[in-house]
Symmetry: C2
Subunit: 336 residues, 2 copies
DNA sequence: TTTATTTCCGCAAACGATTGCGGTATGGTT
DNA sequence: AACCATACCGCAATCGTTTGCGGAAATAAA
């Protein structure tokens, strides 16, 4: 197996006794080049397996045909669905993707942004980390005229396209569903309120209660959006459990964790307490009872985000920024 | 927000009235450059936010400091764990990753290989697609002296490093566990036999039976490695169910699908039929009864694969190829 | 003062591709 | 015969960085 370096335009030129410029033009059927030469060059290129060096192209054109992606954690099903959607669409349009995970860490996110900028990505697809409180790293990106599309965990204050689920409406519908079932004391396991996702779902919760004229009680709001935090707050949660008849969690993981905790302590679901989640993670249909939740189309959102970004890259940004809102669908199962 | 193009070495040179070569050397403390000049250049570079253009670097050095990854599907937990492990390690060593999914499609895999080669990746991390039967695209990569590390779905016939779980041993242990429980007619839901993973797990199954002097019966081997295929073979499976007392599935998804099918038809698990899977997907501990399975450390395997690849890239390939075998651990839960 | 040695820096080519501009044939017009 | 247009192609600069080599200036040795 002998070493075989990729062939360049110069190599073709030498072999065919023409100049590199002629080869370059011949390969793209430039009218200046005779048909005969074009054929000769293209044939040779094909047989020699010529493939343009994207690094050289990127250097010349100052764009790399790659899209940078930053997401909190690849292993979460929602994010890997996003990725999958992005990847499928981007590849179809000739773009490659470069993926980073922030691990919910602000510093890592900043480093990721730098790394992707170093690689001269043409645009960024971002879902913000939980610990991110300022957006200067993104502002910097935008100042370089690199477009960003935020997905799900968006940033309100930056001029970008966005792709989100209708969190407000989804939460509102879900809580109304709980109310319709007869729940009147609904605990909300809330996400971080600096993230729009957490805020919007909380707003939906509030609105539903208002519509049913159920008073809002602050002590029924618990900042708990991971199983770990549920465990830590187990005591507090159990002390509340006798005065509630429903739980609306900001995501499926904490919903399931809460469900487990309650079941372990002898409560029946949905008999004594109804439980609802958000996101329709695969685990939702696997647990007993099956979790009632709100569907969130990760794959489609990813595709749409990639589409928005690539359109903007093509259109040179003349159009106004848009926020694509995906409708939320109730998935009523057994837990509520 | 005004446009701000990234600054180059030439810009620094002009600003400081020195040559680009001097700047380049000063930035890396080359002994030819006076301490004063070094300081001056580095200071200016820092303040101007200079960041080297990796495209130009890649063009010059003929390497891009990026690793190409091809996996079947990002949304499978095992693969996203792999990714996560790779990403964490690679970033620590200054490498970026470029990820492609083959969607279990041979043609897509070939295209992915080409795309990654076009991007002049320094090495490849690959988990082969199910529909891949020939390896010429990988051979081509190796002929360019681009190293590959195969992960989990490896290729025997190519000279590369590999990272696998001890599939044989895991399967053997699991089937022996079933036998110890008293099972004597164990159905095997097998994977494609052209994949080593499928072959090795089948071998483990056979060996365990031999050790217990239980005759091997061909009619108890079903090529079924996805829920969809289980559904399609439901009839056949149900026709066998009365003469079996255990199922060993090549992965957790088909194990759970089979479990569901049996439960729906009134069979109790593990009472009448014990069911075991492979992989310890998150779903394993969510289903009822909780699935007994074999643990597979995706994250660690990913890290190890990245480590092997980066070492080889650094060491210029003087060492012999190695196959890192991760031990398999039984996760005995409730289903068997 | 001449020669040898350091010290410090710049020129220019190279990586692979693109592109404006200019140049040489060839043929056709007057 | 002199002129113009057209068809076809090459030169050289450019993107940003690296690096071998050579050269100037300063210092040391003879």
């Amino acid at each position: 197996m002998k070493k075989y370096t990729p062939i360049s335009i110069g190599d073709i030129a030498k072999a065919l006794n023409v100049s590199p410029s002629t080869v370059s033009r011949a390969l793209k059927n430039h009218p200046d080049i005779s048909e005969a030469t074009c054929r000769k060059v293209q044939e040779y290129a094909r047989e020699a397996g010529y493939r343009p060096n994207v690094l050289a192209l990127g250097l010349k054109h100052r764009r790399s045909m790659t899209i940078g992606i930053i997401i909190p954690e690849i292993v979460h099903h929602f994010f890997s669905s996003l990725l999958s959607g992005i990847e499928d669409l981007a590849y179809g349009k000739g773009y490659r993707v470069m993926i980073c995970q922030s691990n919910e860490d602000y510093l890592r996110e900043v480093i990721n942004v730098k790394a992707l900028m170093d690689h001269r990505v043409d645009g960024l697809l971002v879902s913000i980390s939980k610990s991110t409180l300022d957006y200067n790293h993104f502002r910097e990106v935008l100042s370089h005229e690199i477009p960003i599309v935020f997905m799900d965990r968006i940033c309100d204050e930056l001029p970008t396209d966005r792709v989100v689920t209708n969190d407000y409406e989804g939460a509102r519908m879900m809580v109304k569903h709980l109310l319709k079932r007869g729940c009147r004391s609904i605990l909300h396991l809330a996400g971080p309120q600096h993230l729009c996702v957490g805020r919007e779902r909380y707003r939906g919760y509030q609105q539903a209660l208002r519509e049913y004229r159920v008073p809002l009680r602050d002590e029924l709001i618990l900042r708990c959006d991971t199983p770990a935090k549920i465990d830590k707050s187990a005591h507090q949660l159990l002390s509340l459990v006798d005065e509630i008849d429903g739980i609306f969690a900001v995501n499926d993981f904490s919903a399931v964790a809460a469900m487990r905790l309650l079941q372990k302590n002898g409560y029946t679901i949905p008999g004594q307490i109804a439980v609802a989640g958000f996101g329709d993670d695969p685990l939702a249909s696997l647990v007993k009872p099956m979790l009632t939740t709100v569907e969130q189309r990760g794959y489609d959102m990813g595709r749409e985000a990639a589409r928005l970004l690539i359109n903007r890259l093509a259109g040179e940004g003349e159009t106004a920024y848009q926020t694509k809102v995906f409708p939320a669908f109730l998935k009523v199962r057994d837990s509520a």
